[in-house]
Symmetry: C2
Subunit: 428 residues, 2 copies
């Protein structure tokens, strides 16, 4: 049997320990599948003393992950520290400079520096694999880069932040307001230290930017994503969307339009009986639409020790087998400059507007919508106990610009109370 593939493991958090467990528990199975043994020779983490519930005495220790990446007895770097600056970036660069492949779970690093890192990797004849960075255990990077490589991709969609989907599902099931479920999620440890990474859509947008690059052969353009978190969603919205046959999801969508690459991560309504609409709790889902294959849906755990470590090991086994594709599917130097098009594709919209209880109020707003080119498909007016009357409107297809114009015009009347809500209804 050929020589073992020797891993330097940077990061001993939940994912790092998961990787060690898989390699220890399945050494023989993995060697059979990879065609050679896979071993960990050296490790690095912030605190060498912390008890991680696992025997680490068999591995060489490095305080500095850069030194780890450079060790002679390390063939590839597995980077599961996280953070898009500092140690993670430095260790990744050090590994590539030493001609070593990198397997990473670090979506933020690649969302910010993916292009430069991919160019560096490919110039050195090596690669960066990042299955674990997107949608946890779901093999979406491999499916998109390899399995569906014969397709021109039309659209990629995904629910890729389990915490947001948990919060929205819990709001629906328990009828609890956002703020309360947010605190529950924090108490359960579901939220990042900076919760805005989750509920603001940043984490999910990191992932979407990587999918876009592979799907459309464009440079990673995290800054080109239209991003909106879930903080403005009310239980009312969820219930009323439900009445009309929809569920609200924080949905990432990337598609190539005539005006450029449209990427957005916003709360959207999707039909309750669609695969995306049926997704509840912390599970992730990615939907890929290709010109030949039609619609492919992948669903699974988007986070957690086992699923994320599974994705890391899929990449490691590929490298052990000698499978080494360009980082983003085509050589980094051939990725196209990204022209970002904000919300170019029209869609139906869900509008929630509170009106003062006066004759003609609704007519006034409807006129403003019409003037902006937004036509109404369905409308419901609810009872009003406190003087205001919430009106729900489902529009025919309209662009985001038209909707924003219409909302501004409606607000400028004297019949609208508070801030209207406009959510896209994604055609899935």
């Amino acid at each position: 049997m050929p020589a073992p593939l020797r891993i330097g493991l940077a990061g001993l958090g939940t994912v790092g320990i998961g990787v060690i467990e898989i390699i220890q528990n399945h050494a023989e199975m993995i060697a059979m599948r990879a065609g050679r043994p896979i071993i960990i020779t050296a490790i690095s983490a912030r605190d060498p003393k912390r008890d991680r519930g696992i025997d680490l005495s068999g591995f060489a220790w490095e305080d500095d992950p850069v030194a780890l990446a450079r060790r002679d007895d390390v063939d590839i770097l597995v980077e599961v520290m996280g953070g898009h600056e500092g140690a993670a970036r430095a260790a990744t660069e050090a590994a590539l400079e030493a001609g070593k492949d990198v397997v990473t779970a670090n979506k933020a690093l690649l969302a910010h520096y993916g292009q430069a890192l991919a160019e560096k990797a490919e110039a050195a004849g090596c690669t960066i694999r990042f299955e674990a960075a997107v949608a946890g255990g779901i093999p979406i990077i491999k499916s998109l880069t390899e399995g569906l490589a014969g397709n021109s991709i039309r659209r990629v969609m995904g629910v890729m932040n389990g915490t947001c989907n948990y919060i929205l599902t819990r709001m629906e099931d328990a009828g609890l307001p956002y703020e309360m479920v947010f605190e529950e999620a924090r108490a359960l440890g579901y939220l990042e230290a900076d919760p805005n990474l989750d509920v603001g859509g940043i984490d999910a947008s990191h992932k979407l930017s990587l999918l876009s690059s592979i799907a459309f052969g464009t440079k990673v353009a995290f800054d080109g994503i239209e991003m909106e978190g879930i903080g403005a969603i009310s239980v009312d919205d969820i219930q009323r969307a439900g009445d009309m046959g929809y569920r609200i999801k924080l949905l990432g969508v990337a598609q190539m339009t005539g005006r450029g690459l449209e990427q957005r991560m916003t709360p959207c309504l999707v039909p309750q009986d669609s695969p995306l609409g049926q997704l509840s709790g912390g599970t992730n889902m990615v939907v890929v639409e290709g010109d030949a294959v039609g619609q492919i849906v992948l669903r699974g755990a988007g986070a957690g020790r086992g699923p994320t470590a599974s994705a890391v090991m899929g990449d490691v086994i590929d490298l052990a087998r000698g499978i080494r594709t360009p980082v983003f599917g085509i050589p980094a130097t051939k990725l196209a400059e990204t022209v970002s098009a904000h919300s170019a594709a029209p869609s139906a919209w869900y509008l929630r507007i509170r009106l003062v209880d006066k004759p003609g109020a609704l007519a006034k707003v409807a006129t403003k919508l019409g003037d902006a080119g937004v036509s109404i498909n369905r409308m419901r007016q609810y009872g009003h106990s406190d003087g205001d009357a919430p009106v729900l409107i489902v529009t025919h297809k309209a662009t985001r610009d038209d909707i924003l114009t219409a909302m501004a015009a409606a607000r400028a009347t004297n019949v609208v109370v508070g801030e209207p809500v406009a959510l896209r209804i994604e055609d899935v």
Copy 2:
């Protein structure tokens, strides 16, 4: 750019034409992704004269696919003729003997001769790729062999025959009996020339046998599959299962048990609100359970020109990139002999028994079930207009042997009318 990968295409049915279309429409995109051009140099089919709606004049023609496989200007054989004997087998063997990789959509060929062909391929230093053979456009072979390679697989399940799922969905939606929907499906061209391939579960079992081999590292054992078609399912069963929160699917299940590899392709009840239960129409779904990743669900079109050609092209692009893994994930010579265990795993069961309208009939049957070690979880007795009383029983977990014993004992009483129905309730 390196030299093109030159395809010899055997078979110009719907899939073959789909492959030509993708290569013609996306030549540049594919060359970018594959790192080299992919071209078709020669083709073969039964009838050179038939108009296939596409210009074939640019390709060399071979009447004999074996001669095609041996041509000097052919690097790999794409076999999309079908049939598990004769030309498809001979052409595949000829290609392997000439040291050429083969991409095939032929599930029957691999289900019957996969082991011998894989050994032949690997001895010659080449491989056979067959993503298109299982679940159409869904990249399940790649996901299982590569993406999830770090997992010990616990169970693989799938709805992998779109025609059966169409028939069952249509029976449910329209309330039409099996025979009538079967004729509809035949008229629509959904059925194979030998319909038993579809409705008898043979086609889906071919696919399951390939998944089992990869998942469990065992030799393909098509003959070890417990197989039962959908012909005995009544609208009554579908509706009554629905009343209890279930849907009936022709479900393939493979799992490793203490007694050996259990493989079955039988009509099962699955919860309506599970991903499998929500699958309607001709769509396919495969569910993989791994020890690290948990449950991964893949869903997409299981047949048709585009989806199947997409899968073929994924394999072809892999080969052009130099990705060449063992046929069944580990070297064929290391695949374990398969010890088949029929229905070793216990489960709950749905039983439908018609009883004569006499006092004590139900007690008599319940006693027989109890004697066989089958305990009752839920029971419903329906009204009886024609003298017989249908009884529906959901059992606690029981093995298939216990159920068969109990059913035989019940039939041997004088209170059971006709043939009882026993369907497994799969825990998904």
